[in-house]
């Protein structure tokens, strides 16, 4: 093996880690907002991702049958549609379910688990039990080859770019917008926020819906690298929770850091051992760190 080849592999492996990092981050982000800012456990997070994925599938089939010339561009609009749809369902779920349970975090966990079961069956009844494959635009397929032997997956770069965009957007919204201010005020002191005229109910609903919307975007992005089926959301949910918990619930920065840590650990260990053992190793590492540091990597320091 030549030095050039080794460099290529190292670079591609590095990219693999980064790509997994952006996948984990995109999964965890919506959850981090909902869990971190509201303390609500949304077990149906994976299903909101699936909503996004099916939206892409719908858009792709519609475009294919009605406007084939539009195929190269539909993906952008489909992602926006995915956000809107997941946002709307999130809004609905908050109104119907979550708002009654804010003071009972463990009960939200059970209720949203129920919700996820129902949503899975609804997907199955609507789209069938088989997995579907949206036709992804040609430019998203294949790899970018800067030089011989080095292949950088285009879909990986796409997901990475999208993650960057969404993360940036979330940070901007949380720290620069009125909504962000309201959310942060509500997190810090709900009663006080209420007293100074913040409609905390509305803020909660907005927060939950935005979290779900981001899940929808994540699901949409993952159609380029993974599968879309009624149960594909459940594949992601535990990973997503671990990312958020490991990072420290209330900290977005923590979510970013933990997604990076987990992704690198898993991706590197996968290269040197079998996939199953790599998974076990990563999970054990997370659990043992959480046992030593239960508040996660980045915990808000509060005088208790």
């Amino acid at each position: 093996m030549t030095a050039a080849e080794i460099t290529n592999i190292v670079m591609m492996q590095g990219f693999a880690g980064l790509s997994l990092f952006s996948v984990l981050l995109l999964m965890g982000l919506g959850l981090a907002i909902i869990f971190g800012q509201m303390g609500v456990i949304n077990m149906a997070h994976g299903e909101f991702m699936t909503i996004g994925a099916y939206t892409i599938f719908l858009c792709s089939s519609l475009t294919q049958s009605y406007a084939p010339g539009f195929m190269p561009y539909y993906f952008f609009f489909a992602i926006i549609a995915a956000f809107i749809l997941a946002f709307a369902f999130g809004w609905l779920a908050e109104w119907a379910l979550i708002r009654h349970l804010y003071r009972r975090p463990l009960d939200t966990l059970l209720a949203t688990w129920g919700l996820s079961l129902g949503m899975q069956q609804a997907f199955r009844s609507t789209f069938g039990a088989k997995e579907v494959s949206p036709t992804v635009p040609d430019w998203l397929l294949g790899s970018w080859m800067p030089h011989e032997g080095l292949d950088i997956p285009i879909n990986g770069m796409f997901v990475m770019g999208l993650t960057l965009l969404v993360t940036g957007g979330v940070f901007l919204m949380l720290y620069r917008s009125r909504w962000g201010l309201r959310v942060r005020a509500t997190v810090a002191n709900r009663t006080m926020a209420n007293a100074i005229g913040i409609n905390t109910r509305k803020t909660d609903r907005m927060t939950f819906a935005i979290g779900c919307g981001i899940a929808g975007v994540a699901g949409a992005a993952f159609t380029t690298i993974g599968s879309t089926g009624p149960t594909s959301g459940s594949l992601y949910i535990v990973d997503a929770f671990l990312v958020v918990t490991f990072g420290g619930a209330a900290s977005l920065l923590g979510t970013v850091a933990s997604a990076f840590g987990i992704a690198q650990t898993q991706s590197v260990s996968e290269f040197f051992m079998t996939g199953s053992m790599a998974k076990v190793l990563t999970l054990l590492l997370i659990i043992s760190i959480l046992m030593i540091r239960p508040q996660g990597l980045f915990a808000a320091k509060v005088r208790r």
């Binding site: 869990f35 463990l106 129920g114 129902g118 998974k279 659990i287 046992m291 239960p294």
Partner: protein
Amino acid sequence: MTRLRTWLTSSDLAGIAVLALVIVVVLPLSLDIFRLNLVGKYLSYAFVAVGLVMLWGYGGILSLGQGVFFGLGGYAMAMFLKLEASDPESTKIQSTPGIPDFMDWNQLTQLPIWWEPFRHLPVALIAMLVVPAILAFIVGFAMFKRRVGGVYFAIITQAVALVLTVLIIGQQGYTGGVNGITDLKTMLGWDIRNDSAKYILYFATCALLIGAIFLCRWVQKTKLGTLLLAMRDKEDRVRFSGYDVANFKVFVFCLAAMLCGLGGALFVLQVGFMSASFVGIVPSIEMVIYAAVGGRMSLVGAVYGALLVNFGKTFFSESFPQLWLFLMAALFIGVVMAFPNGLAGLYNDYVKPRLLRKREPHSKPPEEQKPLPAASAHPPPVGWNPSVPRPRTDAKGVGPAAA
């Protein structure tokens, strides 16, 4: 009749007696052995539900990894049974006779050393209780000493369940992988597959379950039970009354784990196999719903919850397979939103007051009533009107599980 009614409404022993009557007399008389065997299987889940009443209802600790302990208990028993079923005579077709078939398929040529002890029934029986307890102790000790609770604990137990599932599936040469350990036949030469064995195992399960309920009831009645309730309400107060709160949580976690282990072992005996699919996250959360449906504070309710949910599952999946998941979803949401105290709560709120009211014309003096395990510590006096809200933890808007 009146006396019966009084007794029914006044004592939690009555609840246990009625349950015993149902599972020991009514069900065996009305069901054929196939259905009864199914009930036996459900009752083995009820051990988990009873454990969850102690852990979640009393201790306020929600574990989403109870399947792990159920699985460990089950595997301990399954390993023993498998070794007995894998004598050299019946496995002579294998390249290495005398070892379990799945090991042979995975090119193992001799029994792994840690399987050896499971040739002996006493070892298996001890392991079925002790292994879950040890794991619960390690996880619980590490978490509770650092005051990890609530949601974090739930998620970490979930991760433990995931790790164990991946591990069992990945190490299929030693564990049977996805397929699990199947084709279990005899226990010490006693064929566990025929009808008479099924009856015996069913009644053994009933007896052990009622024993487990009594054990938990006893724990509830001791100071430890009071302390658990106190901790759920004001953990700091208990701590600053000189108690090491973590120890009590570890204890109740271990207790629940051992009950799960016992349930798992009885499951294996009645169903005849064990697989990684009981260890994972989905079954673990489903087990929580048994306790939630029955009433998270009621031991007897938990058993009914396990029976009801599983009957529902069997019935609906036979008759309306498409609807089953929707129904399950409705069950989860409904139990949480509308009936946080489950069946036991419904009984206390609607059935019992009616029974009490019927007693009124006889103008008997109200007897001293023991507190029920349900939310209210003291039942209201006779003639109490159910429409008047009773003071409960919920009165503050905080449900029992919020602690």
